[in-house]
Every structure is written in structure tokens, then in C-alpha cells.
């Protein structure tokens, strides 16, 4: 038996922390520009909450992009459907929603979120089987099919619920702010940030500590080789697609509560942000998606405060800047 010579020791793998430092640097740079520390803290808290909600909605989409190279322009449908399903739970329990008890509020909020995730996930199953399965590997058809699916979903919501905006008030115990000196941080933003962090940690644990997660990471990198090892990646993709759809549904509920309203085209304003996050994060990268979401939210909040006229294009400018620095996104996972 032969021993292959071990060549030079491996260089220690470099931890690429530059993308992590980016939001920190952005936050620090804006302190003197904003001037008031309390305003800066309020904007930063708002950015974190908004970033976490966008991350929840975008995380599934980035895995779908990375794993199967599928362009799903209909992702926003799961967001809107999730929000509408939550109104079905909120409406009959309006008194409980407005009760002045956190536990009573959560007794309505938690089932509403879970039901929204279940319905959005199930809708994801239907969309993958009916719209996406016939057009694997055909990007133009994927765009047409999923955009068409989004239009059908929006019009169905209009038909079922009507064109009016449906109010979705925050539960009573989540109204108001935590006051720290002269800084007021909305309670709901704290909750949204905590939920976003929990989702991020859960996804990281699954991706890094389970065989299923290894398969997803390997599939993002080289799905053909995963199949050659004997794994049916289509089933894996279906599972990821449904999970991504369910998370979009959860994000829809959270966004509806943030805006305190629901309407069928509510995802229109989010879709651009979600795609910007997926692209600047690097297709298939959860870590990149997380940092990208925070950056997008920071640019929207800080930019909106400092240069309101630039707010509409600030995220596009951010995307251009990031892609000039790293053409495949903050963390390139795939070769695409």
C-alpha cells in the first residue's frame, strides 16, 4: 500500500470578514452625518427590523436561485398570501388582538403566523409542480411563468378580498416603544429583529449541522455531483422551495403588521428590495443574504433621512457599488 506524500501544509482558511464589517462601517460613518445620537439609534433600530423582515422573505429565494438556478419572479405572491391568511385569523379574534396582555396577543399572533406559513408553503408546492417543473433550465420561460403566476395570485386576492386595503392593527402589547433615555425604539421592531435573528440562526444550524444542510450547500455548489452521489436533488429542491415560500409567508405577516395594512400588491414594493438583497448577497448565500438585507435597510433608512430625494434609487446605487467591488456578490457560493 502506498502512502501519498503530504505536500506543504495548507494555508489557514481566511475568514472573509470584509462584508460583515460593511454594515458596521456604514453605521459608524452615518453617526456624524445624522448628528443626533437618538435619531441615529432610532434609524439603526428601524434598519435592523426592516433588514430582518427582508432577510426572512429573501432567504428562501436565494437558496432557490443557488440550488436550482430558478428565477422565481413570483416570490412576492407568497408574501401577499401569507399576509391575507393572517387577516383570516385576526378578524374573528379582534378583541384578543387588542387585549392588553402579551400572552393573549401571542395566542392569536402565533397561530396566524403558523397558518400563513403553512398555506404559503403549500402554495409553494403547487407553484413548483405546476409552474416551475415544466421550465427547469429555461430562464426566459421561468420569468414568464412566475411573473404570470404573480399576476394571477394578485388578481385572485383582489377577487376574494376586494380591492380595498385591509387594516391589520398591531396587537396592543406590541404598540408603543421602549424608552432608553431620549431614544424611543418601537417594541414591534425589537420583536421583528429577534424573529429575524432566530430564523437566521435556525437556517445556519440546519445548513451547517445537519446532513440535509450539507446536501443543500453541496447542491448549491454542484447539483450534478450531488445527483451522482445518489441523492434526488429535485425532492431537495421542492423542500427548499416550500420552506422558502413558507418563510415568505411569515415575512408577509410581519411586513403587514409593520405597515398595519394588507393589500394584494403589497409585495410590489418589496420585490425589488428582495432581488437586490439576493443579488448583492451572492446567489445561494444565506450569510450574504443576511448582510445584504441589513445593508439595503440601512441605505433605505439612513438615505431616506439624509438625502430623501435619493431614497428611490439608493438601493440600486448600493447594488451597483457592491457588484463593482464583488461582481458575484458579497459571498460567492455558486460560479454563476
Amino acid at each position: 500500500m502506498t502512502e501519498l506524500a503530504v505536500t506543504d501544509p495548507l494555508p489557514k482558511p481566511k475568514r472573509d470578514i470584509a462584508p460583515i464589517l460593511l454594515p458596521v462601517a456604514l453605521a459608524l460613518v452615518t453617526i456624524p452625518l445624522i448628528g443626533s445620537p437618538s435619531t441615529w439609534l432610532t434609524l439603526t433600530a428601524a434598519s435592523l427590523a426592516m433588514g430582518m423582515m427582508i432577510f426572512i422573505m429573501a432567504s428562501g429565494l436565494t437558496l432557490v436561485f443557488g440550488l436550482m438556478d430558478v428565477l422565481n419572479f413570483g416570490h412576492g405572491a407568497f408574501i401577499a398570501v401569507g399576509a391575507y391568511i393572517a387577516t383570516l385569523v385576526f378578524a374573528p379574534f379582534a378583541a384578543s388582538v387588542q387585549a392588553d396582555s402579551l400572552w393573549v396577543n401571542l395566542a392569536v399572533l402565533a397561530p396566524a403566523a403558523l397558518l400563513s406559513m403553512a398555506v404559503s408553503g403549500a402554495l409553494g408546492l403547487v407553484v413548483e409542480r405546476v409552474l416551475i417543473l415544466p421550465v427547469y433550465g429555461q430562464h426566459l420561460k421561468q420569468i414568464l411563468m412566475t411573473t404570470g403566476g404573480l399576476i394571477v395570485a394578485e388578481q385572485t386576492l383582489y377577487a376574494l378580498w376586494g380591492p380595498q386595503i385591509i387594516p391589520m392593527p398591531l396587537p396592543a402589547s406590541l404598540r408603543g416603544s421602549f424608552i432608553l433615555g431620549d431614544v424611543a425604539i418601537a417594541k414591534y421592531r425589537v420583536l421583528a429583529t429577534l424573529i429575524g435573528l432566530a430564523v437566521f440562526v435556525a437556517i445556519q444550524l440546519v445548513l451547517n449541522r445537519t446532513k440535509l444542510g450539507l446536501l443543500i450547500r453541496a447542491g448549491v455548489e454542484n447539483r450534478e455531483m450531488v445527483e451522482a452521489l445518489g441523492y434526488r436533488i429535485r425532492r431537495l429542491f421542492l423542500g427548499v422551495f416550500m420552506t422558502g415560500s413558507a418563510l415568505a409567508g411569515l415575512g408577509g405577516v410581519m411586513w403587514a403588521l409593520y405597515r398595519e395594512q394588507v393589500h394584494a400588491s403589497m409585495s410590489d414594493e418589496l420585490t425589488v428590495l428582495i432581488f437586490v438583497v439576493v443579488i448583492i448577497g451572492g446567489l445561494g448565500s444565506i450569510g450574504g443574504c443576511f448582510i445584504g438585507a441589513i445593508l439595503v435597510a440601512m441605505v433605505a433608512n439612513y438615505g431616506g433621512f439624509l438625502v430623501p430625494k435619493l431614497a428611490l434609487v439608493s438601493n440600486i446605487l448600493l447594488m451597483v457599488a457592491i457588484l463593482m467591488w464583488r461582481p458575484r456578490g458579497l459571498y460567492a457560493v455558486t460560479s454563476r
Binding site: M1, T2, E3, L4, A5, V6, T7, L10, P11, P13, K211, L214, L215, R217, A218, V220, E221, N222, E224, M225, V226, E227, A228, L229, G230, Y231, R232, I233, V333
Partner: protein, 240 residues
Amino acid sequence: MTDLLKLSGVHTHIGRYHILQGIDLAVPQGEVTMLLGRNGAGKTTTLRTIMGLWQASSGEISLAGERIESRATPDIARLGVGYVPESMAVFSDLTVKENLVLAARDGPMDDTQLEWIFGFFPALRRFWLSRAGSLSGGQKQMLSIARAIVEPRKLLLIDEPTKGLAPAIVMALIECLKEIKRQGATILLVEQNFFAARELGDNVLVMDNGTIVHRGEMAALASDVPLQERLLGLSLEAHQ
């Protein structure tokens, strides 16, 4: 010796290109069959077609008597076919350990098998928790082969394992493949390195323009310089 793998009249089209044009071949059980030929002859396409990565447009492929030409790649892998692609295709974002954990599809890795692999490839033990992307080309090749043998396989399809490797690593790799052969493995091995082919092969198939143009014993081809020059365009001496 019975044939483990048989291809009869296999054609493969990739887009509008007709790559395999009626391949007939057999791989005997427990032997190493070399698949030689010039660049673009169709060797890699043959392996990918057997693996189901490209669908045969016509013809029959059978593994241990079971037809597999219409089966999906994961099903073919589950029948006991290990595949080492030319690109090695290690998962560079995963560690060496994680690459092998995935390859051990049917459960936890067998410690005895792992020690056997470490015997061939001690670098894999040393870099067990390192990212595969940070390995050298030779170490990636070791990992790619280790992934194919971490569980018992009926058949190994190996595509140009010595390509781009330093001579010392090539020699060591040949010894490793010999040891795998001594364990009774059945291997269909694509190779451009004629020296490696002569060292490892029991049988040889030579391809040109998508067809098999020669079949026979490796030893016979290795000792027939005019035949080597006619089939491969160069002799073993020239290659060395």
C-alpha cells in the same frame, strides 16, 4: 468472467451534436477496463451517459443485467455506481469530512473503510476538517476518489484521474488504484496517460469519433507500438 456493464448501440446527442455514434462495449466484473482515445473522441460522454448525466438517445445500457439507460442519475448511483468526474467536483465549501459524509449515503461512515482510505490518502486524515476548496489539485483528486470508494460500489467510473497532477503524485495515484483493483473493484477508467493505462488496465477500449475502434487486452496494445501509433497517434515510448 461475466460482464458487469454492457453498452449496445448507444447513441448520445448533445444539442445538435451527435457525440456517441453506436457504442458497443463490455466491462468484465473485477477487472479494470481502460477507455483511451484522443481529445473529443467521446470518452467523457460515454461515462456521463452511463451515469445518466446525459441521456442516451438510443441503445441499451445494462448493469448486472439490469437496464439503466432510462434511469435518473441518483437511481444509477444507488445501484452501486461510483463516479469520479474529470473536474473532480469536490464540494469546495464543505470540509473533507463533510464531502465524505455526503458520499456515505447509506449511513455513518464505516471506520474500517475510512482507515483503509486513510492508508492510501493520509493527506485526507491530516486535512479532515479543512475546506476542500483549500486542498491542492492532487489532494482534491484523492478526495474525489475517496468519495467514490467510501462505500462499497459495484462499478467505478473514473475520468482522467492523473490529469494535471505532478509525476510523483501520478505514480502514487497509480499505486492506489492498483490496490483498489486488488480488492476486486470493477473499474472503467478513462485515461490519456498511456503509462498509467498500461500499469492499471486489464482490458482496453479505444475510441475515435464517437465509436469504439479497438478492443482487446491492455498488455497486447502495450506491446504493439505500431498499433499504438495507429490508434492513439503516439507510442508508449514517445509518451514516456
